[in-house]
């Protein structure tokens, strides 16, 4: 009896202590000023004065996710890039109209042979800390991006055209030959050959300027409070909770009119929070698009659609039968009705692809260059091929069965609905049974890098608005990214000419011709171009969804 009372009281005391500790800790964290006070609502209001800034007003609330990194020389994903392009800047940038424009540089001089680029910097460029930016900072940043210690998987891809960059990255040389610091305000790049797309590649975060003084002092943690040169500075980053950006009051292209941008990172349904007035912009998913399109609903006036530079496609490994035969590739392409499927399975939220270059890219035309839905022609192609159909499978002339297996990324529960629809069409129109195989993302990458996949579902997001980024990188026979085993000498020639063609119109014409040949060869079956569907709060002025990640917050205003 005595023992049990003692036990009970011990247990109660133990639990009480735990509750007090846990509760007290979180209460003290709450009150210690780490977070702004949230008084029974989901909205955090900023009560801090911050840098006094009479020219910027308002607060924008967006949904976001934790960036993988805020280091511009390491970032490979669009999520991180969204913050990075606001916090940092480079010599050149892309405007909302997708024009290449000067950023930190006040002028660029390109030599006649197209090999030397001389940048002169502006006088009025400052880091968020107030320190002036010099050409030395630019040079330091480029070298750091390519340094071996940094272990960046991307920097060489975007800066590798600079003479000596490759040698420097692989530790074969101490310096980058093609990078020269002329004086305090001038920096010069020498390329390994004339490359008109070099400027476009410089808009990518690998070429952004970082503060060497900050990094040398704190190599590990500097990204938590980065000293950048972009229109917004990182005021606060609470992991998985919130990111707050604050307008940079010495930004050289004009102080942003929008003072504060808050990204709520905790997830949950964005649309629900939008309707709860917790967010100002929300993406519309296929489940909500009907409501958004309904002219009588509240969402409709706030709804808009924006095309993206993202293409999804089927890819064939030309070295693996039966895709070594162009007739088979064409047969598969001619027997699928992408328009119908986009309409039915995706509620028309994707645009059927009309080529490889997406709308808005130089070289795009709205002529549909892809294989149309024509089952009769498809069957003709099948007959013309060296394979026959037997019992739902393709067989060689020797009677050997050649199965077709599409590999896609998935969790094993269900294939993509559109792939299932395509399978159904191939079965009905051609009598061929195609199999689907799902793997997880990392496995898919490993197999795709090893060029082991026979047929797969792919996607590509333009890194910079130049056709070289997709046509050359994916289809040139020597390109490391050509995972199709595609080899067409005519296409190679066109691409190589385009690489060094300095006349923009002629260059675009070369890419158009290359695109045409590639589509005739049916190495890819372009499926769709993506679109962003959003609802935007009526208080927000000037919101747009650019086709690729470009800085945009400084063009937005909020009237509240």
């Amino acid at each position: 009896m005595f023992k049990r009372n003692k036990l009970l009281s011990i247990l109660i005391i133990f639990v009480a202590i735990l509750v007090v500790i846990v509760g007290g800790l979180s209460a003290s964290l709450l009150l210690s000023g780490e977070s702004e006070e949230s008084v029974n609502t989901g909205i955090t209001t900023s009560t801090q004065a911050g840098t006094d800034n009479n020219l910027s007003v308002g607060q924008l609330r967006l949904s976001g996710s934790d960036p993988v990194t805020l280091d511009p020389h390491l970032a490979t994903d669009a999520g991180s890039a969204e913050y990075i392009v606001e916090i940092y800047s480079g010599l050149v940038t892309i405007s909302p109209d997708l024009e290449l424009t000067l950023d930190l540089a006040s002028s660029v001089d390109i030599s006649d042979d197209g090999i030397t680029y001389t940048f002169e910097l502006r006088d009025d460029i400052f880091f968020h800390s107030g320190r002036r930016v010099t050409a030395e900072d630019v040079a330091w940043s480029i070298k750091r991006a390519l340094s071996r210690e940094l272990q960046s998987t991307v920097s060489l891809a975007y800066l590798g055209d600079i003479l000596g960059a490759r040698e420097y990255f692989f530790g074969l040389s101490e310096d980058i030959t093609g990078l020269e610091l002329i004086d305090d305000k001038t920096i010069q790049f020498t390329l390994d050959s004339p490359k008109p797309f070099f400027l476009a590649k410089l808009t990518y975060p690998c070429a952004f300027v970082v503060d060497g003084q900050q990094i040398e002092v704190n190599e590990r943690n500097w990204t938590r409070k980065p000293n950048g040169t972009g229109p917004y500075k990182l005021k606060e980053w609470r992991l998985s909770e919130q990111i707050t950006l604050y307008a940079h009051d010495r930004y050289h292209l004009g102080i942003p009119p929008l003072k504060e941008v808050v990204y709520l990172l905790s997830g949950g349904s964005a649309l629900t929070r939008f309707e709860n007035d917790e967010l100002d912009v929300a993406f519309i998913s296929v489940n909500d698009v009907e409501r958004a399109r309904d002219v009588t609903s509240d969402l409709n006036p706030l709804y808009s659609v924006w095309p993206q530079f993202t293409i999804s496609y089927f890819a064939f490994n030309i070295e693996k039968p039966p895709f070594d035969d162009v007739h088979i590739r064409r047969a598969l392409g001619l027997s699928i009705d992408r328009k119908k499927i986009a309409e039915v399975t995706f509620s028309d939220m994707l645009a059927p692809a009309t080529g490889i270059l997406a709308p808005g890219l130089p070289g795009y035309t709205d002529v549909d260059k892809t294989l149309p839905f024509n089952p009769n022609r498809a069957r003709e192609e099948l007959l013309a091929s060296k394979y026959k159909v037997e019992n739902g499978q393709l067989v060689t002339s020797q009677g050997e069965v050649v199965p077709i297996v599409i590999t896609e990324v998935g969790g094993g529960a269900e294939a993509r609905i559109d792939t299932q629809a395509f399978l159904e069409q191939w079965r009905t129109e051609l009598g061929v049974n195609v199999e689907i195989r799902q793997t997880d993302f990392a496995t898919y990458l490993a197999e795709s890098d090893a060029k082991q996949l026979q047929m797969f579902n792919g996607g590509w997001i333009m890194d910079y608005p130049d056709p070289e980024n997709i046509l050359d990188l994916k289809f040139h026979s020597q390109s490391g990214l050509n995972d199709l085993g595609y080899q067409n000498t005519a296409v190679d020639e066109l691409l190589e000419l385009a690489r060094s063609e300095l006349n923009p119109d002629q260059r675009i014409a070369l890419y158009r011709d290359a695109e045409k040949l590639i589509l005739e060869d049916a190495a890819w079956l372009p499926l769709y171009f993506s679109q962003n569907h959003v609802v935007v709060n009526a208080d927000v002025n000037g919101w747009f969804e650019p086709p690729m990640v470009v800085p945009r917050l400084r063009f937005i205003e909020v009237n509240r």
């Binding site: 989901g42 998987t153 905790s266």
Partner: protein, 326 residues
Amino acid sequence: MAGYVIRRLLWLPLILLIVSFFTFCIARFGPGDPVSVAAGQIRDEAILQQIREDRGLDGSIFEQYLRWGQGAIRGDFGESLQQRGFTVSEVIFPRMWVSAQLGFIALILVFGLGILFGLIAAWANGSWIDPLIISVLLFLQAIPILVVIPPLLWLFAVQLNLLPVGGWDGLIDIWWIKGVIAIPIPDPHLYIPLVAFSLPGIAGVARLMRISALEVQNEDYIRTARSKGLSEPDIAIKHVLPNSLLPIVTVFGFALASIIEGAFFVETLLGIPGIGRFVFEAVGSRDYDVILATTVIFSTVFVVMNLIVELIYGFIDPRVRLGDTR
């Protein structure tokens, strides 16, 4: 007794060694690697290979494991690839803490209510109250979390606007009355996750408690107490409850250990920055260091909790003597 505890704890390093090595091997022998996942669209095999070498992802499995082990012993679990610039500890401990807080409160609820309902059901055995309680609880246990959360969100967050749709803001919120008086209340972000978490668990504990209490109720000493004239509530609380707690203690121990594992569904649906969702993503991204660190931590907590549960047993039940029996 102290000797017993120490002997048990000596097993811990060996268990951790085996568990970590096993996990290490599984992760690395599988297809895919973190450098490949971390690379962007533009991939150059030469670059990736150099980075793999520089990160020590080459070499034999034993070399790699030794390198990891040397760091781990010092508490350095490496760097996360999903969140660059942060060490693994910095990334997982805050999330484990969040999961633990939520899990702990849920635990109190589950066991508190479970024990209560179980006792009542056992006491009401024979009447209609017993099967009613159990049926209701089973019904609640059978509903999947995925089904419970959306209606709750719709009702309380969207329609009534009483609760936030998701997110995490600590355990305690301050309710200001007239801007002057501060009253601490449980944070509104907690309510829906707690309901989702607790409903299934209460049934399990209640049923266990009920069975255990029924057994105890049929014991001789209970009949004695009744015949002595003790009131029913007295009997229930002073005699039935403590004696039927034994199986609950075991379950509680392991439930307590598992709160640091987080819960994938609840965290993903309600935007709670917990460890469950993060580990799942780490596996997908082949973030080896995160996977290993969390496995090692979970294993340690389990082993220690196992030991604590046994000790509590020995404390509660004088018939159980640990370590002395030969």
